[in-house]
């Protein structure tokens, strides 16, 4: 029988900063971010993989932090909602959500914004169907999604106009 290990060295980057930690094998990435690193922007809204509030980017791809073991993120680049505002200015997607009222209570918003970030990085000019598909793993109970779709469209337009790509 192999020896049961219950701690792992985790070396990854979180929001561009190197993070070296010893973590329990059972620690979820969502809890690692929130409790170990204090990055409470990532929210937990369900008991696992239902709501998408905990969506973060792992190597550019949107993932549920509540379905990811922290220990599995060794060598990976993790990005959370806190990484998007530069010098406390909102990013284009954040501005879209703010100005178009894509956020009402705001609890699903960090996950929504990160899912949109992941979408626009791979598809800078999504049509409405592609936006819906890109955000299909995220549940919002306030908006009815109309203004979330507008927020992402507006961010994509802004990025296109300014010639920036995510």
């Amino acid at each position: 029988m192999a020896e049961v290990k219950n701690k792992t060295n985790l070396s990854c980057t979180v929001n561009g900063r190197v993070s070296d930690n010893i973590v329990s094998d059972s620690l979820l990435l969502a809890d690692f971010l929130r409790e170990t690193l204090g990055l409470t922007g990532t929210k937990i809204g369900c008991d696992g993989g239902e709501c998408g509030c905990c969506t973060v980017l792992i190597d550019n791809a949107p993932q549920h932090a509540c379905l990811t073991l922290a220990a599995k993120c060794n060598g990976k680049a993790i990005e959370t909602i806190e990484s998007l505002s530069e010098e406390s200015r909102l990013s284009a997607i954040q501005r879209g959500f703010n100005e178009k009222l894509g956020a009402q209570c705001g609890f699903c918003t960090p996950g929504m914004v990160m899912a949109a970030e992941g979408l626009l990085r791979t598809n800078p000019d999504p049509n409405e169907q592609e936006i819906r598909a890109g955000l299909a793993a995220n549940i919002c109970r306030c908006t009815g999604y109309v203004k979330i779709i507008e927020a992402v469209q507006s961010a994509a337009d802004e990025l296109k106009m300014s010639g920036q790509a995510l």
């Binding site: 409470t40 929210k43 937990i44 709501c51 009402q104 999604y145």
Partner: protein, 771 residues
């Protein structure tokens, strides 16, 4: 000198004043507070639906290293509840458990693993009792009463007749009746219930932060169950991830958190799971409705006779109010001359529902509008025309139950949806499996009767003006995502003619902000908006007087232009900051306040017991057209498009109003086509967001919003309710559209593919047997 005009804040699309915090992840919700040394709370819940408690043995759990406190129902013998007449629920069960998942004990430990281990060590001994999961079973002869003081498990029976119903029915050319069943639905707000309580043993003082819509009711209930002086309790509402009524009464989670923090002499965070949030749902009760409507050949309604039975769960909560709304709010939408209502609120061994968005009237309105549509089809009257036929003779109308309607934009709502949906060109010509349906709804703008007989106004807002020239709004009104902080800021800014950036707002901190009853019954815009206007008007008066002193002019001659005050074209005038300095000279920082009170004539009727429920200063109105397609193979309904018109009085913030209406429509869609709880022997089996089936972005339809502004004479700048009415109208508009698409009328909610397929098959069989 440059002319400086006052800015305008009302009627303009404004993003939320707390939007940047929300989109950047900086907004802190209750579970985001994790101070060093914070203990973790965990609840032990009843594994059975109905039992006498023999013993809750916590001795072993208490001895586990890392456990700081374990509490049971022995911790407090003070019951809690939103209604003084129905307080018989304890934070932790005593003597009996009455639903599966009812809290029995709570552990506070150094971490979640230890807390769970301690939970596993608790030994719960009980004697099972017969349990009732349907209203019918609970009301049957020979049942065991859940509560000794509620025989036959009837929490409240309502029975009234206004007008002559039997005469109305006999005068009718047609009487048509139907039975409806509406499944229990939950709010499923994004943020699970959470609280963090910090007990200061030195001062015997407790600070509680909680996800709540009613921090001041929490304050009262905390004092009650903790048996502490209210002054020794501080309640703070952080950011809250949605409400929709699930937090409109004090929840056991908050009270247990405070009790266990005191027992542990420390700080305890208690964040419950999504499953536990479903158990603590306070949603809309399962409702059975039987309704008869009598009509003349021309579509004029002569009488309505109906019964509503609500499965009320194990405790009352808002139940008495819900069953009363189901009667009182039938009035005020159409001109009704005779109504008989029988309502039964039943106690069952299921988690208690509460006051969900569209409280009390949603299911009854669904039945009424579905039946009206059936009548229109039978009489070959257009579905919009039959509604026009029965409009109130108003505004300035008094209903049979003495509701005063001062603004009534329903006719304009109907006009708007008729035109925008191209109703006249398209209705009945949509082809197979596609249809259009229409329905209406209305809702109150705050419950008018005072809830606390302490002499307090319905709303109070403070404005603090300081030497830096900034104004801080202090309001107890809980911002829960609906935009109340933005609305309050807009109202104050508009009166003072200042840009909204001059204001900061602090909400819901019992040691800082004036008391406010909370965010429920769509009261905040109407009541707190008016209080903000009053406060700003009072502040403006002070500023004008200060400017007059400084300018050596008569206050009546001073003109306030927001950033600039002048007393005629001759003088140079004063900047806002100069006026502030003049106003604070010799007196220092000032705080002014504004109040709002309802008019007694809006307090409802005395014609029947509980008639105060449904009395409001104003009612919002909605008409909606829904376009659906039905898959002939799977019977799945797709909502193709929605036209939603709502009379909101005045859209203070059209962006926010659209957001509220779109969200309402969408939540109505969930109830109409997919959402509903299911229990197996009292065990919730739909307690996740996937099993419960909330719609996702994929199913969400395009929604066109029509804002109708009837300018209510008493509303803040004419505004009324904006966040509930459109939910109510959606559900019948959808089922009416389904009837138009396939000729089959759903009666039971949600209209899932399996239910609809059954109806279609039954219909086909009937048609075949006829031919």
């Amino acid at each position: 000198m440059n002319e400086i005009k006052p800015s305008k804040s009302i009627g303009i699309r404004k993003s939320l004043v707390d939007g940047p915090e929300k989109v950047s992840g900086k907004a802190k919700y209750s579970s985001d507070f994790m101070p060093i040394g914070c203990l973790v709370g965990r609840i032990f819940r009843s594994p059975v639906a109905h039992a006498e408690i023999i013993k809750v043995d916590i001795e072993e759990a208490k001895l586990l290293p890392g456990v700081k406190a374990v509490i049971t129902g022995d911790e407090t013998d003070e019951p809690f509840g939103i209604l003084p007449i129905a307080r018989f629920e304890f934070p932790l069960a005593r003597d009996k458990v009455r639903y599966r998942g009812e809290p029995v004990a709570c552990v506070a430990a150094i971490d979640v693993e230890t807390a769970q281990k301690a939970i596993d060590l608790i030994k719960f001994k009980y004697k099972e009792l017969p349990a009732y999961f349907t209203s019918k079973d609970a009301m049957a002869e020979g049942t065991v009463d859940l509560h000794d003081h509620r025989p036959r498990n009837i929490e409240r029976e309502v029975d009234f007749e206004l007008g002559e119903v039997d005469k109305g029915l006999s005068d009718a050319d047609f009487v048509i009746e139907e039975s409806f069943n509406c499944a229990e639905v939950c709010q499923v707000q994004s943020e699970p219930h959470a609280a963090i309580a910090e007990y200061d043993a030195e001062r015997e003082f407790i600070t509680v932060r909680a996800s709540t819509q009613v921090p001041y009711y929490d304050h009262l209930m905390l004092a009650k169950v903790l048996k502490m002086d209210e002054a020794q309790i501080r309640v703070v509402k952080p950011f809250v991830g949605g409400g929709f009524g699930c937090r409109t009464e004090s929840l056991n989670v908050t009270l247990i958190c405070a009790l266990v923090a005191r027992a542990a002499n420390g700080t305890v965070g208690l964040t419950v799971s999504r499953e536990e949030t479903f158990i603590t749902h306070r949603g809309r009760p399962e409702t059975d409705i039987e309704m008869r409507i009598g009509v003349k050949k021309d579509g004029t309604i002569t009488a309505v006779d109906y019964t509503a039975i609500q499965r009320g769960g194990a405790y009352s909560g808002y139940g008495v109010v819900t069953i009363l709304y189901s009667g009182g709010l039938l009035f005020g939408l159409y001109d009704l001359t005779a109504v008989r209502y029988k309502g039964f609120r039943v106690l069952t061994n299921t988690p208690p529902p509460g006051a969900m968005r569209g409280h009390g009237i949603t299911n009854v309105r669904y039945a009424f509008e579905a039946l009206l549509d059936k009548i229109a089809t039978k009489l070959k009257i257009d579905a919009i025309e039959i509604r026009r036929k029965n409009l109130l003779k108003g505004p300035n109308y008094e209903t049979l139950n003495e509701m005063f309607i001062n603004s009534y934009g329903l006719p304009e709502c109907l006009d708007w949806v008729e035109k925008e949906s191209q109703w006249n060109q398209r209705k009945g010509k949509m082809g197979k499996f596609r249809g259009l349906g229409v329905a209406c709804g209305h809702y109150i703008s705050g419950a008018s009767k005072p809830v606390n007989w302490t002499g307090e106004p319905h709303a109070t807002v403070h404005l603090k003006l300081d030497w830096d020239g900034s104004i801080t709004i202090l309001t107890g009104a809980p911002e829960i995502g609906q935009g109340s902080s933005t609305m309050t800021t807009q109202c104050a800014a508009e009166v003072l003619g200042l840009d909204m950036s001059r204001f900061q707002i602090i909400t819901s901190d019992s040691k800082l902000t004036p008391k406010d009853n909370g965010s429920y019954s769509s009261r905040v815009t109407y009541m707190v908006g008016n209080a903000a206007i009053d406060a700003a008007t009072n502040l403006k008066k002070i500023l004008i007087e200060a400017a007059a002193r400084k300018l050596d002019a008569n206050p009546d001659d001073v003109e306030c232009l927001g950033e600039y005050y002048s007393a005629g074209s001759q003088d140079e005038g004063l900047t806002f900051n100069e006026v502030v300095t003049a106003a604070l000279e010799g007196t220092g920082t000032i705080t002014v306040k504004g109040n709002f009170d309802t008019l007694p004539e809006s307090w409802g009727t005395k014609k029947y017991r509980g008639g105060a429920i449904s009395g409001s200063m104003a009612y919002a109105y909605a008409a909606q057209v829904v376009e659906v397609s039905v898959d002939p193979d799977t019977a799945e309904i797709k909502v193709e498009k929605v036209w939603a018109a709502q009379d909101v009085g005045k859209a203070l913030n059209p962006l926010s109003v659209e957001g509220q209406i779109e969200g309402s429509v969408w939540m109505g869609m969930g109830q109409a086509i997919s959402e509903g709880t299911l229990y197996h022997n009292g065990l919730g089996i739909t307690n996740s967001m996937l099993d419960y089936r909330v719609p996702t972005i994929i199913e969400s339809p395009p929604i066109e919003v029509g804002i109708i502004e009837s300018i209510d004479p008493n509303g803040p700048f004419g505004a009324k309710e904006a966040g509930e009415t459109s939910l109510i109208a959606f559900i019948p508009a959808l089922t009416n559209a389904v009837a138009d698409a396939i000729g089959v009328r759903p009666t039971d909610l949600p209209v899932t593919p399996d239910k609809l397929m059954e109806l279609i098959e039954k219909n086909t069989k009937n048609e075949n047997s006829v031919t």
